[in-house]
Symmetry: C2
């Protein structure tokens, strides 16, 4: 049920000494082929980590043999020295695997602004290459090695009746937003898919999964989603069936990230319907999902729909205040922009909160997944090790 | 040192029973002339409270005799009934003062989505009209009656050597952002200024004061800033001198709001210089000021400049990661996008934090005032009475 569910992949996770705790902190995922098509989606932050700059170059070839991922340091804001570290990491993996450095992507996560200890990383790559396995435990070690403030490893897989499968892992708990998160995701498949189809499927899947998760509105310097296709099943998939399965898998991973977000006490889905366009629906849902007053009210189990109305009203989208309907956990609270009663009936005491906003203007609809803003979020982020 | 510092103004604050605590909750400010020019700036939220809709109509005349303000209820999302309440409030004040309803603005603040008890409001207006005074105590009562989660009344005044003065009061503690805040501000002056000059001066002052305060990124349904000019000093002011003084006064009131923001433990100034344009400087400063990870790090006195770099990088403005310099409380932490050391030297343990970001691209500069994100913010906003 993970990275190594599809045929043709091996994985490893080792402790390279990047985390002071001695926990697993370096992962290697290898595509043994026969095919090596790949695609990637990266952060849109203008401040890009060194491994992002490296991996973007690599992905222009549409081809990947392996991915090295580390926690314990983002290798962002590290200048030429940091870029050399990312490059040396790819070279070391290429040497160990017998491929070219340009076939190796690199991903990092952790504190921004500190150089990674290069020798420790390179030794870790060697150890990981020696530890590669196609079993579930090896995959779990890789998934565990990329965790930062995550409390659980996140894995998923899908096997199609026609004989191909997809696997994946992700990490991310804070700095999660506009488009993706401080998240690193690796997806594997043994379907026969060429790089252009893979690229298109990945973009379509990310758009409605990771891009619709917004924990705190912060966009990371390191966000990366990679998909590697080995073709080892020998099954040539229909692109649309593949996209559907990949989207479902990405949604599952995004939900796992939501459930494990920093300080989460409630999982919130903001569902906007009746928007003039889908883009408007996303904008309104995201604005509500990011509003600190909405998030703190839900933390307090308070059906304070007025804050939701106010957030909808300042979203950069078409909103008619007189057509606004708001429902929380099934209870109509606001109809046509005016209180509809029911406020005391809305029970938000559970862990799941569904906020439904109907703008009454058109057919645009979107869900954004978010979390509440709790004491634990403040605690975790004010105490994150410097 | 307040609303009644300028000649020609009276004020009152009474307990109309809108707050369950029995505290002062309704204010009346009257301009006794001889002139009655006025200007206003209102929220850009598409969901506008009934009193905003009413007062916007009133202000098209450029003329005001009086303002009624209440706390204990925002009269937002209250439909036609709420609008009738705002209208009836103006009518009652007009009757008591012997003027036209269209010469009376109305402002409300408090919970969104609940009808105000109309009879209590109207009785409060009558009581306030009977209590009007031009003394400091009457002005303080008015300033106190508009408080919600504010912990102190906020007042300011300026007297010019040439014989005219400006006074002002404001309230606002949460839901403070993009453009103004959940803030109600009334400014008075006895200078001789006609409505068009007043309007231009107000817009110029608001743009660099209230519009540059951003506590939590939330834009309220009720934001209103009004300025009333009595002409009672007989001094015709130079528009530019008046704008300068009005701007300084608005900045003072904005700083008072920052200092009293919900859950504040640190007052943060984000100063961006070297931007391509002033708009870019505002955008980058605002993005940093709103970033939950930056705000929680500062709450924890952690000079986590990497989060500042990341926030600058996702701001919708021209940013070159290789030209980014970051200084916190005087200590250079990042130069040309790379760690400059000094992290342990930056002392953020005090109540004032200055974040300086030089983009190295041009001459655009701007300050945004904000606060940290603390346990107290979460507590106050999850427990705000429903």
């Amino acid at each position: 049920m993970t990275l190594t569910t599809p045929q043709g992949f091996r994985a490893a996770g080792v402790a390279a000494g990047l985390k002071s705790t001695g926990a697993l902190d370096l992962a290697l995922v290898v595509n043994d082929g026969p095919a090596h098509s790949a695609a990637g989606v990266f952060t849109r932050n203008k401040v890009k980590a060194a491994p992002v700059l490296w991996s973007q170059q690599v992905l222009t070839t549409g081809r990947l043999r392996a991915v090295v991922l580390n926690s314990g340091g983002a290798n962002a804001c590290t200048g030429p020295e940091g870029f050399q570290t990312a490059h040396a990491t790819a070279e070391k993996a290429a040497e160990a695997l017998g491929c070219a450095p340009l076939e190796v992507a690199v991903c990092s996560t952790g504190l921004i602004g500190k150089q990674l200890p290069r020798e420790a990383v390179l030794a870790g790559v060697e150890a990981a290459a020696a530890a590669l396995g196609d079993d579930a435990l090896s995959a779990l070690a890789a998934s565990t090695a990329i965790m930062t403030t995550d409390t659980v490893a996140k894995q998923s897989a899908y096997t199609d009746v026609t004989g191909w499968s997809i696997g994946g892992t992700t990490k991310g708990a804070g700095m999660i937003a506009p488009s993706m998160a401080t998240m690193l995701t690796v997806l594997t498949t043994d379907a026969v898919v060429d790089a252009p189809v893979l690229d298109e499927a990945l973009r379509a899947a990310v758009r409605v999964s990771f891009d619709r998760l917004d924990v705190d509105g912060s966009m990371s310097t390191n966000d990366t989603v990679l998909v590697l296709a080995s073709g080892a099943s020998g099954v040539a998939v229909d692109p649309s069936a593949f996209t559907t399965a990949l989207t479902a898998l990405c949604r599952d991973l995004a939900q796992q990230m939501q459930a494990d977000a920093e300080g989460v006490t409630k999982r919130i889905t903001v569902r906007v319907t009746g928007a003039a366009t889908e883009d408007d629906a996303v904008t309104v849902a995201r604005t509500i999902a990011r509003d600190s007053l909405v998030k703190t009210a839900i933390f307090g189990s308070d059906a304070n729909w007025g804050r939701i109305a106010a957030a909808a009203g300042y979203a950069d989208a078409a909103v008619d205040p007189d057509r606004l309907d708001i429902v929380m956990n099934g209870v109509l609270l606001c109809r046509g922009g005016v209180a509809a009663g029911g406020r005391t009936d809305a029970d938000l005491s559970g862990k799941e909160v569904l906020v439904e906003v109907d703008l009454g203007l058109g057919a645009g609809a979107a869900d954004i997944l978010t979390t509440d803003l709790s004491h634990a979020y403040v605690e975790e982020n004010s105490a994150y090790p410097s």
